[in-house]
Symmetry: none
Subunit: 231 residues, 2 copies
């Protein structure tokens, strides 16, 4: 009878606001984790797979819009923006990058909490039909962040999970190495293809029947990788 408390990730550099937001979210009955920057936030999001991300746009180590884009490459969780910028163009950019709501500072606790409730409610509404995805003898349940193979739970590390989510989000498509590296490790890692070799290897090891003869995680030499759903 686990109470299934939704996890929320707050990405915000100012400690004071972060604390303020944490209190508001905890009052909503959420479990809160925090990150102070873009890189930190993406790593944490990959580890926690939060039900909601509350994101400040004015981060020290990068643009919040970049966070949204990277995050959207492998996750569809709602994102609520907090920002001091009231210009319409900023709102449009953030919403089109994949954000779900945009709240300008200063804002009241009550409105923040109400908007959080609205975003989480929608998740419940459509999360009812647990959208799993199957290939081979593997089932991936994104809502629960759970991967099973022949019914047995398979443990994936944060990076493995993000890579898997990204590949599965584009079935049949070739994802270039540069794109995968940029979305998962960051723009400055686009040349470090050895990371991919290692982690694709992990996925095959854990999810393919015969890791030496992969049927789902295919290599396109010199280009990237392709996820092949069931034949």
């Amino acid at each position: 009878m686990s109470e299934q408390v939704p996890r929320v990730l707050v990405v915000e550099d100012e400690a004071q606001i972060r604390h303020f937001v944490r209190l508001a979210l905890e009052a909503e009955g959420c479990a809160v984790s925090e990150a102070a920057g873009v890189a930190d936030g993406l790593a944490r999001a990959g580890a926690d797979d939060p039900a909601l991300v509350v994101l400040d746009l004015g981060l020290p180590d990068g643009d919040g819009v970049d966070f949204i884009r990277s995050f959207r490459a492998w996750s569809e969780r709602p994102v609520l923006i907090l920002s001091a910028r009231t210009e319409e163009s900023h709102k449009i950019d953030a919403l089109d990058a994949g954000a779900d709501d945009y709240l300008t500072k200063p804002f009241g606790v009550g409105e923040l909490r109400a908007r959080v409730r609205a975003l989480m409610r929608r998740r419940q509404r459509q999360g009812g039909a647990s959208p799993w995805l199957e290939f081979g003898n593997v089932r991936v349940d994104f809502a629960r962040r759970q991967v099973t193979r022949d019914g047995e739970a398979i443990h994936l590390t944060p990076i493995e999970y993000r890579l898997l989510a990204m590949l599965l989000a584009h079935p049949g498509q070739v994802l270039t190495q540069r794109k995968l590296l940029a979305e998962i490790w960051g723009a400055s890692y686009v040349e470090s293809s050895h990371y991919l070799r290692v982690y694709v290897g992990h996925l095959r090891q854990k999810l393919e029947d015969d890791p030496t003869q992969p049927r789902h995680f295919l290599t396109e030499t010199g280009v990237g990788y392709r996820f092949q759903p069931d034949a």
Copy 2:
């Protein structure tokens, strides 16, 4: 082949704002229906089952919050509130009644459109078929970087694929050797026509019914090569 245009319902008593919103939504490619009051709006919503409702809170014949509650009794479609009231309590009430977003007047067209896009984004997930190109019994799907022949996947190496893409981009035209070489191998290889002989051979081997009698990848002796779409 109807394009499946999403229907949006605008519930707003002031004709001027209604028109303004209609224009914004139509610019998003939506089919718009209008209602001027709560009763009218609910009736219209029941008839149309719109993909989104844009709702003004200041209606003459009842409270907008009542509209939301009634609507939510039978529909889970997203609701976007427009309101002149900026008090936090109003926002909280509307969001908790079941609204998904709350926009205070005055607002910009751009922000309205962006928020509409954000609300509608989720429901349209799988666009499915990507544009492809066919000749003979071969199909080329550039979005997925996939080539099939009689339904069977054909593997192409990076150079083979680039050459194919280039030829297919200019159907019926003769592409000179120098141009192909410059584009694929670089400006300093424009004389090395033997590369082309090898790789055009590969394409014919993999894609032509009878590689010795090519029907699509034709040689223009002394000039270059020409891609011939279906006869």
